[in-house]
């Protein structure tokens, strides 16, 4: 018995000493778990990204791909339509995004206010546009904004105003696009800001009130600094979203009139699927990716530093 016991104990000791033995199994498991996600990422993201770069160095001539080096990128620099698309996208970025984020901040503060009754209903109301199908809302807007048969002009007509060429005048088309985007995304940004707002400690407001701060002062010195990380996030997300914008101009104006609402996304699409120029379209995609990267870095530098 004893011998057996000692024997088993003796055996138990070295086995305790080789405790790392099951470790390899423990190491494999996490990789196994992330493998499906990694494989999917590699197949559906990494591979297309790489392949797209390879395509961007080629040109299809007579059905065969010919390596042309940086030709497509060079062509990009001398293409007036690419610059028009870039300018249009930049205008939306500079005008629409700040207006939308200011609106979203105002909304978030309002929705956070305890003075407001039925807050949940309002939150839902402002968030609902976000879940509307992009194409569906594009079509609804194009019907609403039709110059001759649209509801908006019918209403302003009742007020005695001249019909506005919402989608047919280069300037108004840009404004219409901005309106549609603002309607669609303001609620989404407001919800992100609202979530952050709720983590700002109430004591800070109390302290500010004790110090005699009014509503504006406490907004400037308590709310805004509190919102900074969320503002950074919404700014970066909106920038990326705006640079890639496609659905709205595609459905609303088709990039027109006379390319007034042509965005980089629409131009990329036209080159790939209308002109079958996949090499050039891929070059546009890479130019866009580089732009987004640069702008993202700049925004993190300026907004992120002090947070």
């Amino acid at each position: 018995m004893t011998a057996t016991l000692t024997g088993s104990a003796a055996r138990a000791v070295p086995s305790a000493g080789t405790a790392p033995r099951p470790r390899p199994r423990r190491r494999v498991a996490p990789y196994l778990f992330v493998l499906p996600a990694l494989a999917l990422f590699a197949v559906f993201k990494l591979y297309p990204i790489g392949r797209s770069f390879v395509i961007s160095l080629h040109k299809t001539v007579g059905g065969t791909d010919r390596f042309v080096g940086a030709d497509n990128y060079e062509r990009l620099l001398h293409d007036p339509l690419f610059w028009t698309a870039l300018k249009n996208t930049a205008v939306i970025l500079v005008v629409q995004v700040p207006v939308m984020l200011a609106l979203a901040t105002g909304l978030a503060v309002a929705l956070n206010s305890t003075l407001l009754r039925g807050r949940a209903v309002f939150r839902l109301g402002f968030f609902l546009p976000m879940v509307t199908g992009l194409v569906a809302y594009g079509i609804v807007f194009s019907v609403l904004l039709n110059k001759d048969y649209g509801l908006v002009n019918w209403l302003t007509g009742l007020a005695g105003l001249d019909p506005v060429p919402w989608l047919t005048d280069p300037l108004w088309a840009k404004i219409s696009l901005g309106l549609a985007l603002t309607w669609h995304y303001t609620g989404y940004n407001a919800v992100i800001l609202l979530a952050r707002l709720q983590s700002v400690p109430a004591e800070l407001y109390d302290a500010a009130a004790v110090d005699g701060a009014g509503a504006w002062t406490s907004f400037r010195h308590v709310t805004l600094p509190g919102l900074r990380p969320a503002l950074l996030l919404t700014t970066v997300l909106s920038t990326i979203g705006t640079l890639q914008i496609f659905d709205e101009p595609y459905v609303l104006t088709g990039g027109g009139p006379d390319n007034a609402t042509l965005t980089i996304g629409v131009y990329l699409y036209q080159n790939a699927f209308k002109y079958f120029d996949f090499g050039y379209a891929s070059a546009i995609a890479y130019a866009l990716a580089v732009l987004i990267g640069i702008l993202g870095v700049i925004q993190f530098r300026f907004l992120g530093e002090r947070s």
């Binding site: 007579g62 059905g63 048969y149 009139p257 006379d258 036209q270 699927f273 002109y275």
Partner: protein
């Protein structure tokens, strides 16, 4: 008996064509992207499961033909899918770019896309020659064979619709204005008539999608060009966007617009339909197939409408032009090319099929034998008792210029619609914007501008 003989003849032709062309295909040595076998080797002619991609009206009409098709080919199971237009173009493009993955066996393709698909995706569409298409070479309207078989050897598709330029007009409005629409010889005269109509009835002469919200905004411009036998490219593929004919066409449009005779159809199809229902314009310069749409949309206006061929651009010039066409092709990746071809042949080369489709949706066949049917020669109560079918048959029989759409048609069209928008919305000079467009197209495509 007669039918039997025809079938034997056709088979003979098919075999001869097949023997001749398989050799050629083998020699041509073009790199196929998605071709799985050429000619009759891919599947049996009377067996298999095939799918067909088309859109709205034509899809419905092909579906209706399937039971009859199955009486002849019980072994072929056909699924017709309505992909919708313009969605079908993206879907075909994606499929072709993916080497034919996921494509249907039979594809319905417009003349504006066909050359692009053929040039950019060699082998993406099957060569119908070896399957027997050559036997039908002379069955279609003049110019159609050149469209589907530019080199006269490879057959990329079979013609379906051949749409001639038409001039649908509200006879009651013309009458009120005291203008005899039938007597208008040129578009200049028509502009004068338009002024009278605007003054007396308030209606515009016609409508154009001025900001080019849809890709087809330049249809009218293109029609004016084609009436002059001109196009965006010469037959050899040079750019002719700023030819004197093009400048003339755009100048006519500018004159109309400056005189306040052009209503804005921004918004595309829906706006066009609203405008039709509201009677905004006196004239719809639309091709053959549009007659069926008018009849469907405003049935209560029966007897108020008439149709004629469009006035000429220059006095004594042509009033006939085939402005567009659609075709059925077989995917190069199809595993049942022979069965798919059987369906294509059944739909497009039998007068009975085409007559039925014309009756259903007013789709104008390119198949000349179809016009022997009485339905094309009946007076139409909607069009004031006119024999509408005969009007267009006259145009179809007229000598028609062939147009080279090239693989760069989509780019050219975009530049043309932009130029037109500049003229219509900003009052730009037609010659100047067309020259800019031609130069830009040359930079984009590397083609020469013919001046």
């Amino acid at each position: 008996m007669e039918l039997e003989r025809r079938r034997v003849l056709r088979m003979g032709g098919a075999i001869a064509a097949g023997a001749g062309l398989t050799g050629l295909t083998a020699c041509s040595g073009t790199g196929g992207t998605g071709a799985t076998g050429q000619g009759g080797s891919a599947g049996e002619q009377d067996k298999g499961r095939i799918s067909v991609w088309s859109w709205q009206g034509p899809a419905a009409e092909m579906k209706a033909l399937v039971p009859e098709f199955n009486k002849k080919y019980p072994g072929i199971e056909v699924t017709v899918e309505d992909i919708g237009n313009p969605a079908i173009w993206d879907k075909i493009t994606t499929g072709l770019a993916a080497g034919g993955q996921g494509l249907a066996d039979v594809l319905h393709i417009g003349v504006d896309y066909l050359p692009g698909y053929v040039e950019k995706f060699p082998g993406g569409l099957a060569d119908l020659g070896p399957l027997g298409a050559g036997a039908h070479r002379n069955a279609f309207a003049p110019g159609m064979w050149q469209t589907v078989s530019p080199d006269g050897k490879r057959v990329n598709a079979l013609p379906w619709e051949a749409n001639s330029a038409g001039f649908y007009y509200r006879a009651d409005l013309f009458e009120k204005a005291g203008v005899d629409a039938g007597a208008l010889q040129t578009w200049e005269e028509t502009i004068e008539a338009g002024k009278a109509i605007k003054a007396k009835t308030g209606a515009h002469l016609l409508g154009i999608d001025k900001p080019a919200s849809q890709a087809d905004a330049a249809n009218f411009f293109q029609m004016l060009l084609q009436l002059q036998g001109a196009f965006y490219f010469s037959l050899s593929g040079d750019i002719t966007l700023d030819s004197p004919e093009a400048v003339k066409a755009l100048t006519l449009i500018k004159t109309m617009n400056d005189a306040g005779l052009v209503s804005d159809l921004a918004g595309g199809w829906n706006t066009l339909m609203s405008s039709l229902k509201q009677g905004t314009a006196a004239v719809l310069p639309m091709p053959t197939w549009f007659g069926g749409i008018i009849q469907e949309q405003v049935p209560e206006e029966a007897g108020k409408w008439k149709v004629r061929l469009p006035p000429a651009v220059r006095r004594g010039g042509s009033t006939a032009a085939t402005v567009n066409s659609t075709h059925l092709a077989v995917a190069g990746s199809s595993k049942h090319q022979a069965a798919a071809w059987s369906f294509v042949e059944f739909v497009l080369t039998r007068p009975a099929s085409q007559v039925q489709i014309y009756k259903g949706k007013g789709i104008a066949p390119a198949l000349m034998a179809a016009y022997d049917d009485a339905v094309f020669h009946e007076p139409s109560p909607f069009f004031s008792g006119q024999k509408k079918g005969e009007v267009f048959l006259e145009a179809l029989k007229a000598p028609s210029s062939a147009f080279n759409y090239t693989a760069d048609y989509a780019r050219a069209l975009k530049l043309v619609t932009d130029a037109q928008s500049k003229v219509l919305l900003g009052g730009a000079d037609p010659a100047k914007v067309l020259k800019e467009a031609a130069d830009q197209l040359a930079r984009q495509t590397g083609r020469k501008v013919s001046r």
